[in-house]
Symmetry: C2
Subunit: 282 residues, 2 copies
C-alpha cells in the first residue's frame, strides 16, 4: 500500500492506473475508520481494479460551534486497517494541500441541502460538495462509495456529480450497525456507557416508524409522531429533527407513498447522531 | 470538422483524443464569433493537437434584466469560421443538455467576484464558473483559451481551476481591437453609427490612464479621475465603473505599484461595454 500526501502525486497515480486500464474505486473518509468504512472499501475492492482511500478531516464541513478539533483522529490504526483490506493507495493530504492560502471557491447544491442536515448545520454541505469535487478531480475515480448512514450526503454527492458532469458513478452501501442496531459512527466512541445505551433509541424509533408504514399507515404525521414519542421517552436524548420524506427528492410527505426515507437527528448528551431507514410502500 | 451536441459524445471524443496521445485545446464561446475568438482558436491550434470550440449562450450568466434573448446568434456563420480555422470539433449543446430539469448546483468564486462585473451583474460569475466547470469536465481540455477583454472572468476561471483541482492550464490571449482601438465584442454590432464612434472613448480613456502611469503618476485616484473625465466628456456614454486595481487580486490601489489593471465598464446608449489595460510600474 502506498501513502500519498500531495494532489499532484495522487493525480499521477490515477493517470497511471487509468493508462494501465484499471478502473479506480474511491472511498473518501475522515479517518477513524470503523466497520462501516471497511464495508465501503470491500465494495470498492470487489468492483474495481485499483482502490484509493482518502483520509481528510475536512474543516469546511464543520460549523464554528462544531467538533472539528475533537473529531477523532486515529491515523496509525487507519493505515493498518487499509493495509489489511489491500487498499492500493491512501491519500492523506494536509489541510494546506487542499486549501492553500487564497482558496475561495465553493460548490453549492441548492435545493437538496435546504433541509435536515443543511438546516441544522449551515455550510456543512457546501463543505462536503466542495471537498468531494476536489477529491474527485484529483483521484478521478470511476466509482466512489458512500454509506447510507449519511443519507442526505449521498444524495447531495449524486446530484453534484450529475450537475457538474463529473465522470464518476456513486455507489451507496448499506449502513453497518452494532448488534443492538446503533449505526456505526466515528462519534459513537464519545458516548458514555449510559449514553451508549440510550443511543439505540434512534434505531428503535426508525424501526417503529418503518413497522407502522409496513402495517399500512400512510399519514406521515402519525409515523413521525410515533418516532418523536419514542425519542422523547429517552431521558438522555434531545430531538433535532425527525422526518418522513421522499427518498429521492427529500421532500417531506403528507401522505407516504413510493420510496420513503425516515430521517432522524438526535443529541445523546453532547453527541449528535443521525440515522435513517428507507421503506418502500406497496 | 465534427459537430457534437451531447455531453456524452463530447466526452467520448475527448477520451479518444487523450488515448491517442493528443493534447486538447479548448475555446469556450457564446458564439457570434469575431476576430477575438478566432485569435483564441489559432492559439489553441498552434499549441495543441486537437481543438474543440463550444458555442453555448449560457443562460446562467445573464441577469433577469440582461440581454440573453437579444444576445447575437449566428450559428451557420460560426460553423463556417470554425471550419476555416481547422477546428476539430464544435460542441453545441442545447440548454436542456447542460441544465436538465432538477439542475441545482452552483460553483462560486467568492472574493474575486465581489467587485466590478460581479457587483454590476449579480450572479454573472456564478453562471460563468458553473458552466466552465461543467464544460471542462466534459471536454477535459489540457489547455483552455480566454480573451483578456473579459479580464475579471479570466482571473475567476484561473482561480476555480486551481481551487477545484481541474487539470487544465488557462491561457489568456491579448484583446483584439478595431483600428480605432475599440475592443472586439459580439455586442458591438448593436451600436448605431454615432454610438460606434462614441464607443472608442473606452480605449481612449484606458490609454490616457496608462500614459499617466507610464509618466510616473502613482495616485490611483488621479489616474481614475482622468479616465472618468474622458468618459464623461462623451455625451453618449454613461459610466458604470472605472478602477485601477492590482492585476492579480483585483484589489483597488491607493498607490499604484507592480502590475496594475485599468478597468472600465461603460454604457454607450443601451449597450454595456467593458475593456481593460494592464500596465506595469517600473
Amino acid at each position: 500500500m502506498r501513502r500519498i500526501r500531495t494532489a499532484r502525486a495522487m493525480r499521477v497515480w490515477a493517470e497511471e492506473r487509468h493508462a494501465a486500464g484499471d478502473r479506480i474505486g474511491f472511498v473518501p473518509t475522515m479517518g477513524a475508520l470503523h466497520e462501516g468504512h471497511l464495508s465501503l472499501i470491500r465494495a470498492a475492492r470487489r468492483s474495481t481494479g485499483a482502490v484509493a482511500v482518502s483520509i481528510f478531516v475536512n474543516p469546511l464541513q464543520f460549523g464554528p460551534s462544531e467538533d472539528l478539533v475533537r473529531y477523532p483522529r486515529a491515523l496509525a490504526q487507519d493505515l493498518g486497517l487499509c493495509r489489511k483490506e489491500s487498499v492500493d493507495v491512501i491519500f492523506t493530504p494536509k489541510v494546506a494541500e487542499l486549501y492553500p492560502p487564497g482558496f475561495e471557491t465553493t460548490v453549492t447544491v441548492i435545493q437538496l441541502t435546504r433541509r435536515f442536515e443543511g438546516l441544522s448545520r449551515p455550510g456543512h454541505f457546501e463543505g462536503v460538495a466542495t471537498v468531494v469535487t476536489k477529491l474527485f478531480n484529483i483521484v478521478r475515480p470511476d466509482r466512489a462509495f458512500f454509506g447510507q448512514k449519511d443519507y442526505q450526503q449521498a444524495l447531495v454527492v449524486r446530484q453534484l456529480v450529475k450537475d457538474l458532469d463529473l465522470d464518476t458513478t456513486i455507489s451507496v452501501c448499506p449502513t453497518v450497525r452494532e448488534a443492538d442496531g446503533l449505526a456505526l459512527s466515528s462519534r459513537n466512541r464519545f458516548l458514555s456507557l449510559p449514553e451508549r445505551r440510550a443511543a439505540t433509541i434512534l434505531y428503535r424509533a426508525l424501526s417503529a416508524g418503518r413497522a407502522l408504514i409496513q402495517q399500512g399507515e400512510r399519514s406521515a404525521r402519525k409515523v413521525r409522531q410515533a418516532m418523536v414519542r419514542l425519542i422523547r421517552s429517552e431521558p438522555l436524548s434531545r430531538l433535532d429533527y425527525a422526518a418522513v420524506a421522499d427518498a429521492d427528492m427529500l421532500e417531506e410527505f403528507h401522505v407516504v407513498r413510493g420510496r420513503a426515507v425516515l430521517l432522524l437527528a438526535v443529541r445523546i448528551g453532547k453527541i449528535r447522531l443521525i440515522d435513517n431507514m428507507v421503506v418502500t410502500c406497496h
